[in-house]
């Protein structure tokens, strides 16, 4: 850890992308769980996630990025699911 004499003036960050190193997943008190069989791949969770914690590949939704998901529950709220069954549910307990 840097001491006060070593800090950049004005609390600047001069190393782009360094927020990747600051994992915020431990802040969760609720954890979103993806139920793939109820997922219609509408990507609303990906659009709404404020922390870019819905991973995708080949245009399809994948698992959550639990290193950065803070458990806000917006994805679960927005998820339309399939035939009345949510594809994302919030479980109590963060990790």
């Amino acid at each position: 850890m840097k001491n006060w004499q070593e800090l950049p003036p004005g609390a600047l960050i001069t190393d782009p992308g360094s927020s990747r190193n600051f994992k915020t997943g431990s802040w969760r008190s609720y954890k979103p769980v993806w139920i793939e069989e109820n997922c219609i791949q509408c990507m609303l969770c990906w659009i709404y996630c404020p922390d870019m914690s819905v991973k995708t590949s080949d245009g399809k939704r994948g698992e959550f990025d639990y290193d950065f998901c803070k458990g806000c529950g917006i994805c679960a709220l927005e998820c339309p699911g399939k035939k009345g069954k949510k594809a994302i549910v919030m479980e109590e307990g963060g990790n």
Binding site: K2, W4, L7, P9, G10, A11, L12, I13, P16
Partner: protein, 396 residues
């Protein structure tokens, strides 16, 4: 060529801003600072400055725009008063924490409620611990000179902190006084160009402003801020020395007036210091050794230097143009007490609250204070450590 002209404090401040030719000015009008922006906007409209003017929807937004523009790399100015400064309060810490050398002129005005537009120092005193540098001005000349020096102090590479130049609302901001203008070329050369060290718009060297620093880092940033503030007095003196060479006018951390051999003294800031000097001259003519200390650099407060200047006195009255509610003393008094707390020898200190909400500070008030100090110096007990003066009381 230096000219003697008649100017209000606000015109003087706007003219100093013109000479600095800022990149951005974002402001919201408020009495009695409105006229500064009124004048400066004319300069911008007439092409006398190349400043981008941003009219914000509030002072909170005005200061936020100043912060953004300063982070982007610009020289930035604004002006406000009273409620406007109070509304900026949240963002003041952001400007100082990001070490952005924004220059603001504050026409000191009372705070509501009750609504009042007259002068007192409640507004800027409320922001004294926001991490900004504060300079106080006695008259239009000092407001002009402080404003020019403010750019140099704030933008100094060892400092890079925002700065507040305070002048008394109406008393200084709107009164016409004779003052020395400065030659444009000399003033511009003195202020110089500004080069931001880490501008946001330098895409070759990307930086982020406004990071999170939790309990593992925050305290180190605060310690670093405290330490950079400690460098300010030296820079203020260095800039004042350079300013004297081009203007002939001397400035220091504070002004000592007939203080060296004084036995009793008054500490007071801004326009009231001018009135007090006259009173002191009258008392000196009567053979009474009275003196004055007028703080100029109030933040950071030059504790050691002020202690050395006051410790030989027998009795000192600190006149505060704002109160610190909570049965406490005025803010200036507390700082003076703090300055003298480590001195083995120190004067008896009393606190007077005066001139709130535009109430005139009359010579008789200063005379009564000096008479009281003389009694204390001769051994009389202190009647009241803190007292309002110039206020109506019920007859006992």
């Amino acid at each position: 060529m230096a000219k003697l002209i008649a100017s209000t404090g606000n015109e003087a401040v706007a003219n100093a801003m013109r000479l600095a030719n800022p990149d951005v000015c974002s402001a919201y009008p408020i009495t009695p600072a409105t006229e500064i922006m009124h004048n400066f906007a004319s300069y911008a409209a007439n092409g006398e400055v190349t400043t981008e003017m941003l009219l914000a929807e509030s002072e909170h937004s005005a200061m936020s725009a100043c912060i953004g523009a300063a982070a982007a790399g610009g020289r930035v100015v604004t002006a406000t008063s009273s409620q406007g400064l109070a509304l900026m309060w949240e963002t003041l810490f952001i400007a100082s924490g990001m070490r952005l050398p924004i220059v603001i002129a504050v026409c000191n005005r009372a705070l509501s409620a009750p609504v009042n537009i007259g002068c007192d120092h409640s507004d800027s005193m409320g922001t004294r611990d926001c991490g900004w540098i504060q300079l106080y001005s006695e008259n239009s000349q000092e407001a002009f000179d402080n404003m020019l020096q403010a750019f140099r102090i704030a933008e100094h590479t060892d400092v890079r902190l925002p700065i507040m130049v305070c002048l008394d609302g109406f008393i200084t901001s709107h009164s016409i006084e004779s003052m020395h203008w400065m030659d444009d070329a000399a003033a511009r050369a003195f202020v110089g160009d500004y080069q931001q060290v880490n501008p946001l718009l330098d895409i070759g060297h990307p930086v982020s402003y406004g990071q999170l620093a939790l309990s593992d880092m925050y305290m180190e940033y605060r310690k670093a801020h405290e330490q950079v503030m400690a460098k300010v007095p030296g820079i203020v003196r260095e800039v004042a020395g350079e300013f004297k060479r081009i203007s002939g006018r001397s400035y220091d951390l504070f002004e000592s007036y007939r203080l060296d051999d004084a036995e009793i003294g008054i500490v007071v800031m801004s326009s009231a210091a001018g009135t007090t000097k006259d009173i002191i001259d009258h008392y000196r003519e009567k053979g009474i050794k009275a003196g004055l200390l007028k703080p100029r650099l109030y933040r950071p407060f030059p504790y050691d230097e002020i202690a050395r200047a006051l410790q030989h006195l027998k009795a000192v009255a600190v006149l505060d143009r704002s109160d610190s509610f909570g049965s406490s003393f005025g803010p200036l008094y507390l700082d003076i007490c703090g300055a003298l707390s480590c001195s083995a020898q120190r004067p008896v200190l009393i606190n007077k609250i005066f001139g709130l909400g535009g109430r005139d500070y009359m010579p008789e008030q200063g005379e009564q204070v000096l008479d009281e100090l003389q009694n204390i110096a001769q051994g009389a007990p202190v009647r009241a450590a803190k007292e309002y003066i110039g206020v109506r009381e019920a007859a006992c």
